[in-house]
């Protein structure tokens, strides 16, 4: 009863119940084979006297090195002894050795691993240091020393090997225990006053069980080969006693007369180790499957209906702008089966700046990468066109023109379209000096000598206002500040004299003061080079500062597109209006900054009607009934709202 009361409260905080490991393993053929073989082997070796009519030492000098026959299923050795019998009797010592070494390995490994991870502090440091020291030793050599001191004592050898193997287990369990220790239900159990050993036994150990099984299986596999190896070296069971390693040694003596003997001597050994390896893999996979089962099953059914919904009406003809440098039409992108970006269209004219605005999770960054044909996370473009300078960069994979499109993309990257990413600190190869990366970009795009490239690199660094270009060129990315790294990343993008720069939130990761500098830099660079800029941002200040026109995205769709001044003066979508109202630059002193209630629906969970309806102050039944199409209520104004005409009227009346 007392036990009941302690387990009930923490059950509530424990992970939900799951199908047992044995049942999950039973579904894997490899695991079934592995367990089957190991059980069979154990039964056959323990009951070996029943299975063969020959004793392992029984010689028959008339039949030496005989092949398999009814009398001797696996043949005989150089003294005419039955190989099956020797194999089965020899297997006993193998199983016994594995049991010994494994027991020591588990006691030392689990004990010290848990202690180091759970107790921490000085105990942890001591154990970790000792484990590191032991980890560096080649175990076999130490075992040989032990065997030279205790000749033929396989028990001593196996105990030693168990100890020498344990540092691997200690390290892994320590790391995992550290993680589990911090979890809520363990903390709750601590607060509830459960004793340390009870917590370890009831809450920590069960979580480590599959890891321990995996490691134990792997270690057992190694012990089997090591035990056989010692037998082979003549350091295990002494002749004439049978052992697996001894069988291989016997086979090596007869290798020129009868190579067959190698097969019965080695194949069972190999199968046993394979079985242990497969068992370990299967347990690991089953454990992984268990942890990841829920999210993946939730994701897949979402793909179907949403892919179909992508075919929602796109009302205005919206022809590509003939003056545009970049024309994106109906671009749709799926990642992991989920439609992340749907039917996005916009143009960027030569020399102009277009802002792509929206909250996180609206598909802005994915759209910008889609322009370059570089979708992260194994995603792909499922439809639409990306026309740069008259050349289509998108063609469905496998379709005719796919290789032409990929060749066109390769040609355009760097010289036509360049790219600056969000996180400057990870945007450069950390293993090359800045100057070398820039020089590679220069030489890739322009050719020329090393010297010319070096001069150009210094020129580029000066262009992005780097104070001492020669010194910075010699530095590595980790030696740069965030703002400096972003300038270098911009210099890298400029190396090919691009006509369009795609900048994905180039200032988000930077300090406020540095943000302004980088924005100013982008504007001056644009004025100097005349390149167009497509900038992804959630900051209206950036839009107001830099952009001529803006595209507002919500939940993977374009919801509004207009010139920036008109957009600020007269938003024609409630989402745009909400975002503008929430703009901290417009905050009024003493009054709370308005926010849009709710969050952006994730790709798998988007409503069939207007995706913003749930958060929209103006929503009514028209909004949730069916997908809302884009309309053009005024010249050069595109919006996806059923009330756009009304919004326009109200605004004009004001």
């Amino acid at each position: 009863m007392t036990d009941r009361t302690t387990t009930v409260p923490d059950r509530a905080t424990t992970v939900p119940p799951r199908p047992g490991l044995p049942r999950r393993l039973a579904r894997r053929p490899a695991a079934v084979f592995a367990v089957g073989w190991l059980v069979l082997l154990t039964l056959a070796t323990t009951g070996s006297a029943l299975l063969t009519s020959h004793g392992p030492l029984e010689q028959d000098l008339d039949r030496v090195l005989a092949g398999p026959s009814g009398r001797h299923p696996l043949g005989t050795d150089t003294l005419g002894r039955d190989l099956l019998s020797r194999l089965l009797f020899g297997g006993r010592s193998t199983l016994f050795a594995v049991a010994e070494a494994l027991a020591v390995y588990l006691v030392v490994g689990v004990g010290l691993g848990l202690a180091a991870g759970y107790l921490g502090g000085r105990v942890d440091r001591l154990i970790t240091r000792a484990a590191d020291l032991m980890f560096a030793l080649p175990g076999i050599i130490i075992v040989l020393v032990v065997l030279s001191v205790f000749p033929g004592n396989l028990h001593a050898a196996m105990v030693t090997f168990g100890v020498l193997g344990s540092p691997g287990l200690i390290r892994i369990l320590r790391a995992q225990t550290l993680g589990v220790r911090e979890e809520l239900y363990v903390a709750a159990a601590r607060v509830a006053g459960l004793s340390r050993s009870a917590i370890l036994r009831r809450h920590v150990l069960p979580r480590l069980a599959s890891t321990v099984i995996v490691q134990a299986a792997l270690f057992a596999a190694i012990v089997v080969t090591v035990q056989a190896g010692l037998g082979f070296l003549g350091l295990g069971a002494q002749p004439p006693d049978p052992s697996w390693g001894g069988l291989v040694a016997d086979a090596s003596q007869a290798i020129d007369r009868d190579p067959w003997m190698l097969v019965p001597a080695g194949v069972p050994l190999v199968i046993t180790v394979v079985a242990l390896g497969l068992l370990g893999d299967a347990v690991r996979d089953a454990a992984v499957e268990n942890w990841s089962a829920t999210p993946s099953s939730r994701r897949s059914p979402a793909a179907g209906p949403h892919a179909a919904r992508a075919a929602a009406p796109t009302a205005p003809a919206d022809p590509p702008d003939p003056a545009a440098l970049l024309s994106v039409r109906g671009l749709s992108i799926a990642i992991g089966g989920a439609a992340v970006v749907q039917e996005v269209s916009f143009d960027v004219r030569a020399g102009e700046t277009l802002g792509v605005v929206g909250e996180s999770g609206c598909g802005k960054s994915v759209t910008s990468l889609g322009v370059l044909g570089l979708i992260p996370g194994g995603g792909r473009i499922t439809g639409g066109r990306v026309v740069f300078d008259g050349v289509d960069l998108v063609a469905a994979a496998g379709a005719t023109g796919a290789s032409a499109a990929s060749a066109a993309r390769a040609r355009v990257r760097g010289t036509g379209i360049a790219y600056v990413s969000q996180e400057p600190m990870v945007a450069l190869d950390p293993t090359f000096a800045v100057g070398r990366q820039l020089a590679e970009a220069v030489r890739t795009h322009r050719g020329g000598t090393r010297r010319a490239a070096r001069d150009r690199v210094l020129e580029l660094l000066a262009m992005v206002n780097i104070p001492d270009p020669a010194a910075v060129a010699r530095r590595y990315p980790h030696q740069l500040s965030g703002g400096m790294a972003q300038r270098v990343a911009i210099a890298l993008a400029l190396a090919g004299d691009p006509r369009l720069l795609v900048a994905d939130e180039p200032t988000t990761a930077l300090d406020v003061t540095v943000q302004a500098e980088v924005l100013t830099l982008l504007r001056t660079l644009q004025e100097r080079t005349g390149m167009a800029v497509l900038i992804v941002t959630h900051d209206w200040g950036v839009v107001a500062d830099l952009c001529h026109r803006a595209v507002v995205m919500y939940a993977g769709q374009v919801v509004e597109r207009a010139e920036v001044e008109q957009l600020f003066a007269l938003p024609l979508h409630p989402y745009t209006a909400g975002l503008l109202a929430a703009n901290p630059h417009r905050a009024v002193l003493g009054r709370a900054l308005p926010t849009i209630p709710g969050t952006v629906p994730p790709p798998g969970d988007r409503p069939p009607g207007c995706r913003f309806a749930a958060r929209c102050p103006l929503a009514d039944e028209r909004c949730t009934a069916a997908p809302v199409a884009l309309t053009e209520p005024a010249p050069d104004r595109i919006t996806r709202c059923v009330r756009s005409a009304q919004l326009l009227l109200e605004a004009e009346r004001r």
Binding site: A136, I140, V145, T225, P259, L262, R413, G414, P430, T431
Partner: protein, 315 residues
């Protein structure tokens, strides 16, 4: 200078390992049943004779002092003499070292080149190659080097007389024969190592391919070839180098078996013989040599790390 400091620091920090191993060996050896002094003087010696031999061998001192003397002598290159052949241990080990080193270095080189190539290919192509690498790593774990070596001998030395069955020809005697005598040992040594390196390379390359800078370089028009072979491979190399170090050490251990099978006069087969013959000074010396090699390998790994990763170099 920075490099020298790093080397000095690493060598100092490996001192505990050397003490641990040599001390452990010493303690173990002191447990040997039987009395070496008695063995030397024989059953009929007087008590004085016995005592003087004991004193001569230092056996009348406490263990810690015996260890200290052994260590002091070891530092001067005196590891005693083989109980079996009477040869000085350092001379014996010195003559065996080149054989083992050439075997292990060749094994690491072969498995490194094959493993990285296989891992890179399976990271890029996926599909069948991935399964092949997985299968190979299971086989590498399961097929013991000594049995694999015998299978190779049966096939390629007995059945098809392409390579010598056993034996070792020194490189300087006849380079061609040396190479021929090395093929089967190196192949049997490399099977497991290729798989381990291929798997690590694949995981590491896939991991690097997902990093931001790769997308930035691609987006800015770096040649795909350069992105893969210069930038991705170099970044992916760090964990692979660690594994290479581990492989080198494990090959030192596996060499015990392979040298025995092929009757090569290396450190490994010497250790095996000494174990069978209970030739304690030789074992102590061999363990010390192998530990020093492990320390040197770890030092090399650290230096390679420094060359590959500027962040390590700085710290």
């Amino acid at each position: 200078m920075a490099i020298l400091r790093l080397v000095a620091r690493r060598l100092l920090s490996s001192a505990p390992l050397l003490f641990l191993v040599s001390g452990l060996t010493f303690v173990l050896v002191s447990l040997v049943p039987g009395d070496p002094a008695r063995t030397i003087v024989g059953q009929h010696a007087t008590a004085e004779q016995y005592a003087s031999v004991r004193a001569q061998l230092g056996l009348d001192e406490p263990l810690i002092e015996q260890y200290w003397h052994w260590l002091a002598k070891a530092c001067h290159g005196d590891l005693g003499s083989s109980l079996f052949s009477g040869e000085p241990v350092t001379a014996l080990l010195g003559s065996r070292l080149p054989v083992s080193l050439s075997l292990v270095v060749a094994g690491t080189a072969v498995s490194g080149v094959l493993g990285v190539a296989l891992g890179l290919a399976s990271a890029r192509r996926g599909g069948l190659l991935v399964r092949a690498v997985d299968g190979l790593s299971l086989l590498g774990l399961a097929v013991p080097a000594f049995w694999f070596a015998l299978v190779l001998i049966a096939l390629f030395a007995v059945e098809l007389p392409w390579f010598p069955v056993t034996g070792y020809v020194p490189l300087l005697d006849d380079p061609g024969e040396w190479a021929r005598s090395m093929v089967l040992p190196v192949v049997s040594l490399s099977l497991g190592a290729v798989a381990i390196i291929a798997k690590q390379t694949r995981d590491s390359v896939l991991d690097t391919l997902g990093r931001d800078f790769v997308r930035v370089l691609e987006a800015n028009g770096f040649r795909p070839r350069s992105v893969l072979y210069r930038h991705v491979l170099r970044n992916a190399a760090l964990p692979v180098v660690t594994v290479l170090g581990v492989v080198l050490v494990s090959l030192l251990a596996a060499a015990v078996f392979v040298e025995t099978v092929f009757a090569m006069p290396g450190l490994g087969s010497l250790t095996q013989q000494a174990t069978v013959q209970h030739d304690i000074p030789v074992i102590q010396g061999a363990v010390l040599y192998i530990t020093v090699l492990v320390v040197l390998v770890n030092l090399l790994v650290d230096l390679a790390y420094g060359r590959l990763d500027p962040r390590v170099r700085a710290s």
